[in-house]
Every structure is written in C-alpha cells, then in structure tokens.
Symmetry: C2
Subunit: 461 residues, 2 copies
C-alpha cells in the first residue's frame, strides 16, 4: 500500500526546491508594478496542481485570480477545503534585508524570503501533503482518502475584496465539512497550536458636536457644554473600574470559558511579567477575575483606537472646541451579537448626552466571534496528525483578533475552520528578513498528509 509519509521523506529536496521556486516570484499584490509577477505566481500554483494530477482553474476576479482545484469525491469521508494565498506583502524597506527578498536564502535552518511563512511556505505544505497521497493514485486525481478542495487567492494582503463574493457565489462548489488554513504561528518553538476561536469585533466612530464654532474658553467656559469633555465622559462611562464594559446586557450572551479551556490556557508557558516587559509597560490591567490569556483570547474588551478634538499643536490655545471625535471597538466573543451591542451602545450614549450636544455614531463594521469545539472530532483529528508530525501534542488556543475569512467560511459554508499555524512569532511577517523554519515546512507537509488520513477516518460527518 502507498505510504504518503515515505513519499514525503523521499521527496524532501524536490519539495524544498519547489518552495524556493515559488518564493522567487515577487507576487506583491499591493504594488501594480508586480502585476505580472502576481499572475506568474497564480500560474505557478495552477501548474503545481496539474503536476499533482488535479485540474486547476484560474478564476479571474475584478482583482487578482483565484486558483481553484479539487480532488474527486470520496464517499463516506468528509470534505476538506484548504484556503491559502499566493500574494505577499511589499518587501520595503529593502535596505534592511540581509539577502534580497526574492532571492530565497538558507541560513541556520531557515529560508529567508518575502512570503516564506506568509503564506507561500505554509500554504504549500497542504499542496505537498495532498501530493504525497496523489502520488499513490492513478495520476488523474485519485489517491486521497477524502475529497480536498483548494482555494488559493491572490489578494489576502490587500483585503481579499473579491474572495467573499466568490465564496457566496460558489457555495455548492465549495461545500465542505472543514476548512484548513495555515497562515499563523505555533504557540512557541516546538509547541504547535490549533487555534479554535477568534474574537469578533464591532468598530465605531463617535462624533460629538457642540457650538457651531470654536469658542474662547475664557468667555464661554463653564456655561457651554464642552464636546471634548462630553466625549471623555462617554468613553469613560463605557469602561468600568473593574475592567468590565458597562453597556447594559453586554455580557448576557457571553459564552463562559469552560474549566477545560481555562486549564489548557493556564498550562501554557506564558508569564505576565515577560509579556509586560516585551511591551515596555510596568504592569497589565483588564477584566477582574481573568488571566491575561483569557482576557486576550476569550473575553470581550473595549479599546479606544483614536481620539481628536480642538487644538493639537504646540503650546497652549484656550479654545472650547466645536467638535470632538473618537474611534473605538469592542472585541466580541461567542455568542455576542454585534447588532445587539450596537443597539445597547446607542441607547447608552443617548442616555449620557447632555444639553448642547449633538451626537453621531457611525457603525464601521462588525463580525461575531467564532469558537469551534476544542474537543470536537475535527480538532481531535488535527491534533493527532500534528502530534505525529511534530512529535509534540499541539496546544489548543484562541486568538484575540478577527480573521474575516473565517467568519465567511463558517457563515457561508457552515464549515468548521481549523487554524493550524506552522510559523513562529519571530518569523518577521510583514517585516524585512521574513523567514520560515525549513524543518517546520517539512513537518507541516507531514502533518497535512496525516491530517487527510485522520479526517478520512472520521467517516461522513
């Protein structure tokens, strides 16, 4: 019987050469001077699918093409969808690179190049993991123990504007049980991670208007409502001294952390003091009763992202400003509803609005948090695959940020999403000297190959 792991072991140097080839293509999606390179990268990915025995489609969009391929259906097995991207961040500032960004170079067991970890290297692991199975098939796409669909886009670094419409319009074609994404990091070196939850967000802009023009703070101060003071009081009222958001009903739908989750987070090598020092602060604050990781990953939060009013220049200007404004966000967790948060916020702020003030609340965007069952069959399958490939049981973590495409896959396809990061925190993603550990590249390919086996073993979902 065909052994995909043996195939991977035999194919190691060829696999590495393929990675180097793809990394030589300067597929910078933000820079129109690289439009040709972007197309070249899409073609390279399509050609790789062809060499695996699949029949890819390079789908034109209003922006850069989406490369799509799928293996044949396997009755009785779940369907997996791999998402990744072939475009990369701009490499500038070039003078800070030790070796040129599009001349991939090996140093200390790493490959240095723009896109090495984000996302060419990580994305390729799944093509290679599938190729290892397909090599045992009939050369026409057979050989995988389950159907795998590949959706590789070229606009992730510029906002993925054309991806969500594509998913919406191709729900049947993309139908799957589980989505696999490797575009993030391990918890720490030697400690791979499965990210099973992300926070959601609601983002607002609040504009406060008082008098029709800036006034002299001497002649008018004390009698005319100050928009900047009003803004400060509104923002301050949102956040309680215990670090809890004060909007009525805000915590009603918050799904509590389970004892298992809290135990898992507590077992992770994370020290508040080290974390604080890395940020240059003398201590941390947050919601009472929760650890730092719990606060970052699985509890809602409130942050002011921007503030403006009146005079911001040098020295003193004695003005009672006509306007003040703020941008702020709530990070949400399951099962908070962004629209319910907005409604509560609106009536809360309205209740605080003093005479002499007009208020405008702009709802910039919102997305709910997501969390998949950490002990569910898909995550357990991924855990077994990763443990075998990395020789380390992966930790199960959550992330504080949002990944809009995860919401899209969950909402549009009703699929569970596996976030399997093979990178490391010091990979210099989006910075000069981006790198990817070659051993992790190969371990990721093995984990992918084993993931197909483990998922197939679950049978029909």
């Amino acid at each position: 019987m065909h052994d995909p792991i043996a195939h991977l072991n035999a194919d190691k140097s060829a696999r590495q050469e393929r990675l180097m080839e793809l990394l030589r293509i300067a597929s910078v999606s933000a820079d129109s001077r690289h439009a040709g390179d972007v197309k070249l990268a899409a073609e390279w990915v399509a050609e790789r699918f062809r060499s695996m025995g699949l029949v890819p489609e390079v789908v034109p969009t209003a922006g850069n093409p989406i490369v799509y391929a799928e293996s044949p259906p396997v009755p009785g097995a779940p369907v997996a969808l791999v998402y990744g991207h072939y475009d990369v961040q701009p490499p500038e500032p070039l003078e800070l690179w030790t070796t040129p960004p599009f001349e991939p170079t090996l140093r200390d067991g790493n490959v240095y190049a723009r896109g090495a970890t984000d996302d060419k290297g990580q994305m390729l692991t799944h093509l290679e993991g599938a190729a290892a199975w397909l090599a045992g098939g009939n050369g026409a796409g057979d050989g995988l123990p389950l159907q795998v669909k590949f959706l590789i886009e070229g606009e992730e670094e510029v906002g993925s504007a054309n991806l969500e419409p594509f998913v919406q319009e191709n729900k049947d074609r993309l139908a799957c049980d589980v989505v696999v994404i490797s575009d993030s990091s391990q918890f720490s070196p030697g400690m791979p991670a499965i990210t099973y939850g992300l926070r959601g967000i609601t983002y607002y802009e609040l504009r406060i208007r008082g008098p029709q023009r800036d006034l002299h703070s001497g002649s008018f101060g004390g009698a005319v409502t100050n928009p900047a003071v009003t803004l400060a009081k509104m923002l301050a009222a949102i956040m309680g001294d215990d670090g809890r958001v004060q909007l009525p009903g805000f915590y009603n739908d918050v799904k509590p952390l389970t004892d298992g989750e809290r135990a898992e987070f507590a077992s992770l090598p994370f020290e508040d003091a080290v974390f604080a020092e890395s940020l240059g602060v003398d201590g941390l604050t947050g919601e009472a009763g929760y650890t730092t990781l719990e606060r970052r990953w699985a509890r809602p939060s409130f942050d002011v992202c921007g503030l403006w009013s009146g005079y911001q220049g040098e020295g003193a200007k004695t003005v009672l400003p006509a306007e003040a404004g703020a941008k702020f966000s709530f990070r949400l967790v399951p099962d908070q509803d962004p629209e319910a948060v907005t409604a509560s916020l609106e009536s809360f702020l309205e209740s605080l609005k003093p005479r002499g003030i007009e208020m405008q609340l702009i709802d910039h965007h919102g997305a709910p948090g997501v969390a998949f069952p950490p002990d569910g069959p898909f995550i357990s399958a991924a855990s077994r695959a990763i443990e075998e490939a990395f020789d380390a049981k992966p930790v199960k973590i959550r992330e504080g940020g949002s990944i809009p495409i995860v919401n899209t896959f969950a909402d549009q396809l009703g699929a569970e999403v596996l976030l399997l990061g093979w990178g490391l925190d010091d990979d210099n993603t989006h910075s000069p000297n981006e790198k990817f550990c070659l051993a992790d590249f190969h371990r990721g390919a093995a984990a992918s190959a084993l993931l197909w086996r483990e998922l197939a073993s679950l049978g029909q979902g």
Copy 2:
C-alpha cells in the same frame, strides 16, 4: 475757571480729525513689512503728547517702542496710569472690507478702519480727556487735577512680550493708585460697563504613555492598559455630573459671589435661549446653582481644549495606541491659587493612574483671577464719570477670560485696574470692517475728562 467739557465740545471736529490721522497709519505689529508704520504710529502718539504739553519718551525695546508720558504730580490726589496700544491686527482678508482698512471712512455714525476700536480710538479718548484739562494749564503739562501717566505700547496684538519686563524694571516710575484701560466693550449699545473682575487660568498638557508601540487591538485589547481610555477616564473624573470640578480642595479658596453681585448680574439683559441660539446649541450646562453669567464670569470652570490619540484618519484602524494626550484648562476666580490647583491636580491624576501607564503633566501657564471691589471708591468714581458722559449708569460686570497685563499691573504696581470699554460687541474687532461709534469716541473722551475730576476728588488714596 477752565471747563474741560466745554473744551471737548469745542474741539470735537479737531479731535475726530486726529483719530482719522492715527487710523491712516498701518501699524500692523504682526507684519514686518509694516515695521516703518509701527514706528510712525509711536511717533504720532509721542507728537500728540508734545502738543498736549507733555514731554514724551519713546522707549526702545527688543520689539516695538513703548511711548511713555506723564503729567506733573498733584499733591493730595491719587495717581492714575493709562494703558493702551497703538499697534493693530493684520487687516487680512482685504477683499472683505467695504472700504480699505487704512482709509478711515465714516458711515452711519461709525468710523470704519483697522484699529478704530482696538485700540487706537479707545486709547485716544484718554489722551483727549487729559488734553482737555491741559488746555487750561500753563502749556507745560499743568492743568490736570491729578497726575496721569501714559503707557502706550506697540506689541499688544503680538503678545506684549516686552511690556512685563518694562513694568518690572520701572515700578517706581509707573507707581500709581489706579490703572485705566479702555480696550473692551460696553455691555450692549447704550449700556456702558465697568469690568471689575477677570478669571484667571491654569493650562496643562497631559501626556499618557502605554506600550512602547501601537498594538493590534485584537491581540492585545483587554489585557494591556489603553492610554486613550485612561486619558478619557482621567478627564472625565475631573468634571462631576453637577458641573463641579472634582479636584480635592478646588473650591476651598473660591470667593463667593455677593448678593449684590448676583443681583447686578441678574438685572442685565441676558437670555439663555438667545445666547444658546447664537452659538448654535440646543441648551446650556454648567455648575448647578449658578446662572449663565455667573458661570462665565465668576465661577471656576474646566475645559478640554485639545485631544489626540491613535488613528484619526478615515475609516477603521484597529489599534491600541501607544500614547494619548490632552490640553485643558481651569478658569480660576479669586482667591484660587494656580499653584495649589496644580498640586491638587497632580495628586488627583496620580491617584487615578493605572498599571501600565506613564503620565506626564506639563504646566503651560497660570495666572490668578482678579476682582476689585465693585463698590470701592475708584469704581464709584468711574461710574459717576461714565454716567455723566454717557447719560447712562454703567453696569458692573466681570469677564471670563484673562488679561495678563491686568495681573501684571495688579501684582507689580499694587494698583487697582479700571476696565472701561467704550466699544460694542459688533465692532468687528480682529475682523474685516472694524468700526467704532463716533458718538462713543466723543462720550469716551468726556468720560475720561470727568474721570480725572472724580478721581482727583477722592484725595490721596
């Protein structure tokens, strides 16, 4: 016996011509192209003193000259010092002037020109009021019933940087019992005013620093203290919901309004609704228990003058900002001590400072409030003089802003300051089409002449 009022009546057209002459000089202190005109205006003022029989001195400074003159001492009478300025604001934008700013033009009983009310016209009334007495003397400076000193500067519109040092260095020469300044407005047309109090100020900049760089609000929000939220909470804490400043001890030294003051303010034609509408607001707020005029003139206040933090551009940026800052002021009333306010503020903010935050409080400047006894002999003398000249008893008011030179005169010379405004609120001070009512120019000159009589009648202070 010489009658100065009869002299003023006979001299009316010549007096008006002198005003027109001075207004033709484009003495714009902010514009170096007008340096020659500024010198010319100083010379014109000096020449006018000479023609009155005084011996002026044009004192060079690091900036524009100060013109100084004094009449001889009069034993048994108090000494008065007139302060005014011969420089003017820039006239731009020129296209908005109906007639050119330095071609004074009569329309509807007003003279239109830059500097007409601020301060050439008002300043001249006191030279003319003294000249009316000196015309009855021996031509060598005798004839006034008290000693009058004149201090006319040329840098008021650019900050008076050289005036305070001059006052400090010439305390003996400038020694006086009362300072007379006409550089402001009547309460309303036909209702002249004596301003007997000004608020003081302390002005601060508060800088809040958190993490050493801007952070992703998703990955860090809820665990890292947000500088913008901290700033909002600090500013909000300063201002109570009752409109009272919450700093410990802030009101300890506040001199209460007397029943007489409250009655006088209440008698003035002032309507909250009209005032609010003129500012474009639907209502007013302020310290509970006080009227709008009391809040503006005689109660301390807190205003945020500027705010900044994080992202102020279009759309959404999900950042936990590294820094936030604010500029804010307290308006002070007698007998609050700016230094005590600063000390209380510092410890108040320190007590609110959470972990993970560094704070810097910059004290930009401070000056105490001033208020002279509204029923004291000098103000009563001025009131009699004005009532006779304007045929209307002046109202006694206060002002919410600060006039630094008033503090200088009060502190350095120990003198009481009479603020006698002959202008009107719609005089377009600092704007195109500045004007001064000619009848008020002549009434002001008469009031000045009568003031010298009334002050002299008080005898030695």
